[in-house]
């Protein structure tokens, strides 16, 4: 393993290293929960710089796919290739090394309860430098704190925050290592629609004028979002929408181009699903 001493030696450069190349490839994936098959024959790719939303049928499924993608859960069949590496043959240490270049937002934020907001955001940056590079970490984390509007709450602990604020903290943490690939695991769960829109605007919206030229968000990462429903904000930002119905992919297109291709509107598909 590389012996790194400063943050600049371990931090990524957003999606530039994987531009036009897949950051995640899912081949013939099959997974079940007890006797129920959650999905099978699942094939999709996320290309560097592309935002892909995976609309699934259950909470369990929304968590399982991204977790299989980074190797903390296992599939029944098929394989996942993450950042050009098929990881099911890797040792746990090799997987950990691979994961540090993935930004991951948990459905429940996954914040560490005994750390303040500042330390939660800084944790991956503090950990992945061999000796704590305080200056490098501070220079990286401070802009993220401001960009995600966490300045007022940065000395609080997660239990003192509302869910929407916790999601913003988790997003800042996912950006900390400027990863080429971001995974948002059911990010709209437990927050209201307007907070959901704010979160998606923060994550994928255009850079506000005051941040132009020094936006701390990673540039053009590949993004996989899993969700149980089709939020209006997803329509605005995703490049590709994959809908899974009864374990199989029923829609895999750019949601803004559905009518040009003579397909049903994605919301119609979801409504039919609910009706059936």
């Amino acid at each position: 393993m590389k012996r790194d001493t400063t943050l600049s030696e371990v931090i990524g450069d957003g999606g530039s290293a994987f531009e036009g190349r897949p950051v995640l490839t899912c081949r013939d994936l099959r997974a079940s929960h007890g006797d129920e098959i959650l999905f099978e024959g699942l094939n999709f790719e996320v290309i560097g710089g592309e935002i892909v939303a995976l609309i699934v049928e259950s909470e369990w499924c929304a968590r399982l796919v991204p977790r299989i993608a980074i190797g903390v859960e296992t599939q029944d069949e098929g394989e996942m290739e993450l950042l050009g590496t098929i990881h099911h043959d890797l040792s746990e240490r090799q997987r950990l090394a691979l994961r540090h270049m993935v930004g991951y937002l948990f459905h429940n934020s996954g914040l560490i309860h005994n750390l303040t907001v500042w330390y939660n955001v800084a944790l991956p940056a503090l950990y992945h430098t061999r000796f704590t590079d305080v200056q490098g970490v501070t220079e990286r984390i401070e802009p993220l704190i401001d960009r995600c509007r966490l300045r007022e709450i940065c000395q609080l602990r997660p239990a003192e925050l509302d869910e929407a604020s916790r999601k913003r903290v988790a997003l800042a943490r996912a950006w900390a290592m400027r990863p080429p690939f971001l995974i948002l695991e059911d990010p709209l769960m437990d927050i209201d629609s307007s907070s959901g829109s704010e979160l998606l605007d923060l994550a994928f919206g255009p850079t506000p004028p005051e941040w132009i030229g020094h936006d701390p968000r990673p540039a053009n990462p590949g993004v996989l979002i899993t969700s149980q429903g089709l939020h209006e904000g997803l329509f605005r930002y995703v490049d590709r929408l994959i809908i899974i119905d009864q374990g199989r992919v029923v829609f895999n297109e750019n949601p803004r181009e559905y009518d040009r291709r003579g397909m049903s509107h994605p919301t119609d598909i979801l409504e039919q699903k609910e009706a059936s």
Partner: protein, 258 residues
């Protein structure tokens, strides 16, 4: 017979899981230079503060009470036959060799062992351990190893502290019972104490500290799903820690003194 065989296999598997876990945590030592060494030290210092410093008032009370009781009970009988010198032998054998390390371990299990099992169990239920893994952070490195180092160092220091406080309060008790002078009291104790006692005290402190850090960590990390599993894991950790600490104490004493 079949059921006995199954139970034996299950028990052996549980033991081997814990041994493997201890070996994996030990393996972290060899990778310390690779990541997060600066941050790990901060967690170790926090653990030292919680397990060591914050345990001092309670440990002082326990040490003072036990040493005073033993001295009073011994001298009240021995002084009747003019055999006060036995206090050195009794004190070294009972307090320094056995009760000091054991009572320190019991205090550390009660404070830190339960806290570690409950905290890691809650971390598991809240998916904080999985969150660490998704960030490429090794939970053994970030969560368990600092606790192992912190609790082991703290327990070693606490055992020594227990003995010092016990000697001090033992003298106060001796003075109250028989008006024994400090010089006489210390001579009785030093005459009975050997270099081996120093080694055994250090060894027991280290061994007990490692047990108290590893077993609760293991039980905390194997919690799956329900929050109701956290108190069960804590109870299991405490019971197993107590059993293993007493067993280890007996083995070390037999090896060194018989």
């Amino acid at each position: 017979m079949g059921r006995v065989g199954t139970r034996t296999r299950t028990s052996l598997k549980r033991i081997s899981n814990k041994v493997r876990f201890a070996a994996q945590v030990g393996g972290v030592l060899f990778r310390l230079g690779s990541h997060g060494i600066g941050y790990t030290w901060r967690v170790i210092l926090n653990q030292l503060k919680f397990t060591g410093l914050q345990a001092l008032p309670f440990l002082t009370f326990i040490s003072a009470a036990i040493s005073a009781l033993i001295v009073i009970q011994t001298l009240s009988q021995a002084s009747k036959v003019g055999f006060e010198g036995i206090i050195g032998m009794v004190f070294v054998a009972a307090v320094i060799r056995e009760l000091g390390p054991l009572m320190t371990a019991v205090v550390v299990i009660g404070r830190s062992g339960t806290a570690i099992a409950a905290e890691l169990g809650t971390n598991q239920v809240m998916e904080e351990i999985t969150a660490l893994e998704t960030m490429g952070i090794d939970p053994l490195h970030y969560v368990v190893f600092p606790r192992l180092v912190g609790v082991t160092l703290a327990t070693m220091c606490l055992v020594v502290y227990f003995d010092v406080v016990a000697i001090l309060f033992g003298f106060l008790a001796a003075q109250m019972t028989t008006s024994m002078s400090l010089g006489t009291y210390l001579t009785y104790i030093i005459d009975q104490a050997t270099i081996a006692d120093l080694w055994v005290t250090g060894l027991k402190g280290m061994l007990f500290g490692a047990i108290i850090a590893l077993l609760p960590s293991f039980h905390g990390l194997v919690v799956r799903g329900a929050p109701t599993d956290v108190p069960k894991a804590t109870t299991r950790a405490v019971v197993e820690c107590l059993a293993l600490v007493f067993l280890a104490s007996a083995i070390v004493s037999v090896l060194f003194y018989y």
